[in-house]
């Protein structure tokens, strides 16, 4: 083999290598090709060209001609070093979790300079400089102006950024694809309420259809902006649900997003993933924080070579390419914005698209709460500090672990259970989710009980939530007091907040909730968007105490035994009954006892 080919090969490898350095900042379109080329060429060149050459070269000069060349041996050493680090980078990668990855990356990068220096010295020593080979690299840096176009109707504030103006289901990369490297996070998300927010959520499906019926099909988009953004961008007017033969698929009990992963295996990205997927949150570039899907999502992201490939080989290679140099991948899926509350506010505030009536104001409640304290970092708590932090033994216990398989061990991995208040739907799938949510709910309130002047006084304090208790679509969330007082003989002299035989709560119970009325002052029932007049508001603002008092007959015989419970139920029985008309398999949500106080009064 002629030495000239070796020279070309070495310099091609060197240049394609260093061009990937941040210093050069070449356009992503070129980067991804060069990166793939660098690896492909290295396999061909190293195996087929350089290895036999080196063997022959050493044999000829060192053993036959007995030429002494120390720098030649150094050259061999550095070559082997680059080879090993390269192999490590390709097969295992620089994922951040092990020191070897970082070492390999740096060895590979700086070792190449060493190798080239020695290589030039080695070749120049033997002969006059022959610069007969010249490398010509033409870099086409094409900067396409990014255009933002928004299919915003007033119904959804969502904007989509796209360079070429079109996108497909492929751009909504299926979350099952993320699973292969982010298995823990995927497992958490797969049974969470974010995953099951659209087609597999019976309450949502009933409500979206109802909204379409009551306000016109177009109105579904108001719901879909947050619940099903992928379908909206693809021009679908409604959320679909899965079928199993002639039956509704049983996905309210389905664990680990089985249908989604199966779909991905057979259809790849061709079949659109509906609901809140990895991409939905991790491709948001701007958030106005004003609710009703007021975010901008960009579907143009930097993709490594073969990333969209449908073949197994391509999929394998793309993973290797990402792992070997994951910086760009990391940057294109995370954003400092994601730690701010206004990011969550894109969807966790809700107003009527035509009348502007505020329906859900979780973010605005937080803004006014003591938790919004940007001046004092120790007191400032954003959404993720409670809702994406692991809980253990009813306390926040940041989870130490990895977000990428083999990645850096983080002290506080942001868990993707998205614990809020809906312990019920996620709990049908996974007990861990249920426990996380129940623990979070229990941190939120405190109960104090006293009897004064023949009055039972119960105080409920919102000690843990950075928003009202309850929040969300607060006329669906039931938080109420269950009170029983018995006298000396054990006779019940006061009872409140018990369930009736049909599962609804007794009339006259003390609720902490807001009650929506329509324009005529009648309760809105299921049609919460009809809300015009606030009939009552007994929610408890952050850090505030609300007092309920009950009259006790003056003639009762002490001692009194008082039993007070703060109960929570995610959906009222009448709402569940309605949804069960369509989903007969849906169980009833249980009543959750958040706090219980038993006291004797003399």
């Amino acid at each position: 083999m002629k030495a000239i080919y070796i020279k070309i090969a070495v310099f091609v490898m060197f240049f394609t290598g260093i061009l990937q350095m941040k210093l050069f900042g070449i356009a992503w379109e070129n980067f991804r090709i060069i990166q793939a080329l660098h690896i492909a060429v290295s396999i061909i060149v190293m195996l087929l060209l350089i290895t036999p050459f080196i063997y022959g070269h050493i044999y000829k000069y060192s053993f036959v001609k007995k030429v002494k060349s120390p720098e030649g041996w150094v050259l061999l050493g550095s070559f082997l070093l680059l080879l090993c680090s390269g192999i490590y980078l390709f097969f295992i990668g620089n994922r951040g979790g092990d020191l070897f990855g970082t070492i390999s990356f740096n060895t590979h990068l700086y070792g190449s300079f060493l190798l080239v220096l020695f290589f030039i010295y080695h070749t120049m020593k033997q002969q006059k400089p022959n610069l007969g080979f010249a490398m010509l690299l033409v870099l086409i840096v094409s900067l396409n102006p990014s255009s933002v176009y928004a299919d915003t109707t007033k119904l959804s504030q969502m904007k989509v950024e796209s360079k070429n103006g079109s996108f497909h289901s492929e751009d909504w990369t299926n979350s099952a694809k993320c699973k292969s490297c982010h298995s823990d996070i995927f497992a958490q998300w797969s049974d969470s309420n974010h995953k099951h927010i659209a087609g597999s959520n019976p309450y949502y499906m009933a409500m979206e259809t109802l909204a379409g019926e009551a306000e016109g099909e177009e109105f579904r988009k108001w719901c879909m902006g947050c619940h099903n953004p992928s379908a909206i961008t693809m021009g679908f007017g409604k959320t679909t649900h899965a079928m199993d033969g002639n039956f509704l698929s049983n996905d309210i009990f389905e664990k680990n997003a089985k249908a989604l992963t199966d779909d991905f295996k057979t259809h790849g990205n061709f079949r659109l993933e509906e609901g809140v997927s990895c991409i939905t949150c991790h491709q948001i570039t701007k958030a106005e924080g004003s609710g009703n899907a007021s975010y901008t999502i960009s579907l143009d992201r930097k993709k490594y070579a073969f990333e969209d490939s449908t073949s197994k080989a391509g999929h394998y290679l793309s993973e290797k390419l990402i792992n070997s140099n994951p910086q760009v991948h990391k940057e294109s899926y995370s954003n400092p914005l994601y730690k701010e509350s206004r990011y969550c506010a894109s969807c966790h505030d809700e107003f009527h698209p035509k009348t502007d009536v505020k329906i859900v104001s979780t973010f605005k409640e937080w803004e006014k709460s003591p938790y919004n304290n940007p001046n004092d970092k120790s007191k400032h708590k954003t959404c993720i500090d409670c809702h994406m932090t692991n809980l253990e033994n009813d306390k926040f216990a940041p989870l130490s672990g990895v977000s990428t398989d083999g990645g850096v061990v983080k002290k506080d991995v942001k868990v993707h259970y998205f614990a809020g208040s809906n312990h019920f739907l996620s709990g049908l799938k996974n007990k861990v989710h249920e426990e996380q949510t129940i623990q979070l709910l229990k941190t939120s309130a405190k109960l104090d009980v006293d009897i004064k002047d023949s009055k039972l006084v119960v105080g409920v304090t919102n000690v843990g939530a950075g928003h009202h208790l309850p929040t969300g679509v607060a006329d669906f969330r039931e938080l109420w007091l269950d009170v029983t007082i018995t006298d000396k003989s054990g006779k019940v002299i006061l009872s409140s907040g018990k369930l009736k035989s049909d599962g609804n709560i007794q009339d006259g119970s003390r609720f902490f909730q807001k009650v929506f009325g329509d324009e005529n002052g009648k309760p809105v029932g299921l049609l919460f968007w009809k809300y015009k007049i606030l009939l009552s508001d007994t929610r408890i603002a952050s850090k505030e105490r609300r007092v309920e008092s009950y009259e006790i007959d003056k003639n009762v015989i002490y001692p009194l035994s008082v039993n007070v419970k703060l109960n929570f139920r995610i959906y009222p029985q009448w709402a569940t009954d309605a949804v069960k008309t369509i989903y007969p398999n849906l169980p009833n949500p249980p009543v959750l006892e958040l706090i219980k106080v038993t006291k004797e009064f003399q």
Binding site: S166, H168, S169, E170, M205, A206, T209, L210, E213, A214, M234, G235, G237, T240, A242, M243, G245, N246, L248, H267, F270, R271, L272, F306, S309, T310, S311, A313, G314, L317, G525, L526, L527, A578, V579, T581, I582, P584
Partner: protein, 397 residues
Amino acid sequence: MKKILFYALILAATVLSTILLIAFLMPKKIIPNYSDEKLRELALSKGLKPVPSSYEELLKLVDDVKNPMTPEKIALGSELFFDTNLSKNRKTSCATCHSFDKDIQNRGVLLSTLMAKNPEITNCAACHLRDQSGVDRFTFSEGDSGTQHPNMLNTQTILNTSFAKYFTWSGEVQSIQEQSANSFQAHYKMNLTPKEVEERIKENPKYAAHFDEVFKDGISFENTTKAIETYVKTLTTRSAYDRYLEGDNSAISHEAKRGLANFIGFGCKGCHNDISLGGQSIQRFPLREFAQVYDLKLNFEIFPELKRLDSEFPFENNGGYLGKKNEHLFRVPILRNVTKTSPYFHNGAVPKIREAVDVMARHQLGRHLTLSQIDEIVAFLQTLEGDLVDYGIKGEK
């Protein structure tokens, strides 16, 4: 040895480059960007027509001297169509599978259903009745007492069948009247003999007068199916696509117009033609032989994907149905309202519209459509989604 290796390599390279060359030299089908007027002209010239919006226009197209349509007959047909007594277990009517509300203006059953103590409608119908799709949304049809179709066939829409020439999946049925007679008698549908049907009709005194008014010979099985036929012929839908064909350029989106151009240009309209966009002929499916063994997808991956398909269809053939005479012959389905009638194909094996478009392009046209082309065609198909036309026929007393 070296020589053999050399020639083998040369040969391999030649074969490979020839294959690639053919792929590259194949002329790319370029669908021009038509202006709105040009596209409309093209569509109309290819036989695509809007659904008539007036009863008189409809009569001109669908009335038949053998069974003339009169308002009274249509009203009688409507009563029979929704009568659950005309099935063995008295629970199934035509409208059970070909579902929509009798009052076509009534699009609001969900709220009343959800709030009712003992709702009449449950499950799927609560949400889907208002779709006006003319199908049951099941994967395979279920008749009287939940008997499933022996071939697990999917229910086809009854809407717009007045414009079709052939009926049912095999296309062996020539008229709606014939098919309604079949449906009454099939054990997996209404499960009644003609005599039983007549008896059931006589049970209801309302019918006697109505039949006498409409037919000279009063109640009979044949007259029953005739009345049903006239009613079914009025079940047509109009959509944004019709408004576009009639001159409203803003009725459909730019993407949908591209989809229509693709639909015509790629040749979909060859079979899905006329007013109903289907139902006019019987065709073979899958058409491309290669599809039966290998689905070779030429791509520039490291290794080309080879997928072996074991079944006769590009999907699993549950129910084992093979079309007319077991020769893969099927009536071309009507595409109007196709986005409301998932799942697709004769056994409902393909749940999503984009996948159905992809299958059709591959196996009927031999084309791998690009993602944009598929999305455009789907956008066009969405414009075929329409509401039942209220022709204001007043035949009831």
